[in-house]
């Protein structure tokens, strides 16, 4: 590898990891928003994946190739359980109930001290998430969403986003699609969480609360949800910006809020406003 590239990767390794992981989180947000649902539970699912992955590695010493799928499976099971009651809700009510999930889990992590390390969190997690793995998964997921988007499933998803009642009348099994999307998004967020835990080597209970949920939402709002690549670009921009504007770093959340407001006002379709063609 060229020397300058080595230097670059060494200096910015954390940032480059974060970009890829945030890209996966943005995709998990896309997965629910593409159906017109609003969930603020992505951070909670990410936390579940992170804690699951960290504990399996630290306490049981399982190999990473086994840890990763289990970190996706645990949030998926939780999504399956909460999906039944919460998917009867729509719009802000679903968002509020998924915020509650994040809070419940946060309190759980803090109080299950012997297992989760309480407020101190877990540290010393081996750094097993290579850049190849992170970006390979990101590329596979984008391609997967792209392929699914250009099928009857993608058409049904966009139809639900535009007019849920009409989509139901077209024969789209609305509860099944909502539950499927929530489970898939939980798996992606869990995967991202586990990758983050195995790249930062530290996780704490306060990383997966409301702030993180809003940050993940802002990825998709800024990028747009017309194509699967759009929210990923949104995540890249919002993750790289604070690095570029280091003096502003303390105001990162203010900045995120400002960007959400501006995006909603001036760019309702995001900075990548194109949509996927859904006919062959």
């Amino acid at each position: 590898m060229a020397e300058w590239l080595d230097d670059f990767l060494f200096t910015y390794e954390n940032l480059i990891h974060a970009l890829g992981i945030h890209g996966l989180l943005a995709l998990s947000m896309y997965c629910v928003m593409a159906l017109g649902q609003l969930s603020l539970g992505q951070a909670a699912f990410m936390g579940l994946g992170a804690y699951t992955g960290a504990l399996l590695t630290l306490k049981l010493g399982l190999p990473f190739w086994l840890v990763l799928p289990i970190s996706a499976l645990v949030p998926a099971l939780v999504a399956l359980v909460i999906g039944g009651p919460t998917l009867r809700l729509n719009g802000v009510y679903l968002a509020i109930s998924t915020i509650a999930l994040g809070e419940v889990l946060r309190v759980l992590y803090i109080n299950a001290e012997s297992l989760t390390g309480g407020a101190l969190g877990l540290s010393g997690i081996p750094q097993k998430a290579s850049l190849w793995l992170v970006y390979g998964l990101l590329a596979v997921c984008i391609a997967g969403f792209w392929a699914i988007g250009r099928s009857r499933i993608g058409r049904a998803m966009e139809a639900m986003r535009e007019d849920e009642m009409a989509a139901g009348v077209m024969g789209v099994n609305l509860p099944l699609y909502k539950l499927g999307a929530l489970i898939a998004s939980a798996m992606l967020a869990g995967l991202a969480g586990s990758l983050a835990a195995h790249s930062n080597s530290f996780i704490g209970p306060n990383e997966y609360g409301f702030e993180a949920a809003v940050t993940i939402l802002s990825f998709a709002l800024l990028g747009g949800i017309g194509t699967p690549i759009a929210p990923v670009i949104g995540a890249f921009v919002l993750t790289a910006l604070p690095e570029l504007l280091r003096p502003l770093a303390d105001f990162r959340l203010v900045f995120n809020g400002l960007i959400i407001v501006l995006a909603v006002l001036f760019l309702p379709r995001g900075i990548v406003p194109f949509r996927l063609r859904r006919a062959p």
Partner: protein, 264 residues
């Protein structure tokens, strides 16, 4: 002819309001059946009960002999029911063609993983779906707009697209909620021609409409609703001369005067 759709004692109560009150209707297979009535008679509520957007307070619905009273809309679509909406419900951002292909949802069977891997089976099905969608667009006269954004179509075109999208599921029973609303006389005539051709596709039609000329011209049988109750039923000729129908539309005084004038 046997009944494709049967409603028995169908009742929908919204708090104090009986929007649909113990209505019995049989829609014969292969027929064109009209539902008419003054504003607020319960026609749209009746439609929403049939398509499953509302669950009746009491009564039952059978489609082709099977009880569908408790089924959600998507399950009824799978059984051969399709509908259009009074206030058009297009997937506006999607192309005209994509709208029709969305209507095929229940008929496309290739599983998700075959779409993910772009397997030959999936591709063949999509090609076939596209060809069928184009055929339907030709049928309603929108083939040249297939790739345009559906939200940009003119009003009358959107109505025809809704019909094509509903036909895409290959329904046996098609519900049309005021298909001629907002159309000019020329468009209404074109629509009537189009709907008459549906009979050849083995589609039974149940329609709500205000344009009397349109209804009388098209329907084999007409049910008249007023204040949620069925007040008359029969062929177009019977309905035109039915005193209770005239009274519902024009009020009792006018009806009396008309009766006298006819008697004199």
């Amino acid at each position: 002819m046997s009944a494709l759709l049967s409603a028995r004692g169908l009742t929908m109560q919204f708090r104090g309001l009986l929007a649909v009150n113990a209505v019995d209707v049989d829609v014969a297979a292969g027929s064109v059946h009209g539902i008419i009535g003054p504003n607020g008679a319960g026609k749209t509520t009746f439609f929403n009960l049939i398509s499953g957007l509302l669950r009746p307070t009491s009564g039952s619905l059978t489609l082709d002999g099977q009880d569908v009273t408790a089924l959600p809309p998507y399950a009824r679509t799978r059984m051969g029911l399709a509908r259009t909406f009074q206030n058009i419900r297009m997937f506006s951002d999607m192309s005209v063609l994509e709208n029709v292909m969305t209507g095929m949802h229940t008929r496309l069977k290739a599983p998700g993983w075959s779409a993910l891997l772009r397997l030959p089976g999936f591709r063949a099905e999509e090609r076939e779906a596209r060809a069928q969608a184009m055929e339907l667009l030709e049928f309603v006269g929108l083939a040249d707009k297939a790739d345009g954004r559906s939200g940009s179509l003119a009003y009358g075109e959107q109505r025809r697209l809704e019909i094509a999208r509903a036909l895409a599921s290959r329904p046996r029973l098609l519900l049309l909620d005021e298909p001629a609303a907002g159309m000019n006389p020329a468009e209404t005539r074109e629509l009537a021609v189009l709907l008459k051709q549906l009979g050849q596709r083995d589609v039974t039609l149940l329609l709500v409409e205000h344009d009397m000329g349109f209804v009388m011209d098209l329907c084999d049988r007409i049910t008249v609703l007023n204040f949620g109750r069925k007040i008359a039923e029969g062929g177009p000729r019977d309905i035109r001369n039915d005193s209770s129908v005239i009274e519902a539309y024009l009020g009792s005084k006018v009806a009396e005067r008309l009766a006298k004038a006819h008697g004199a």
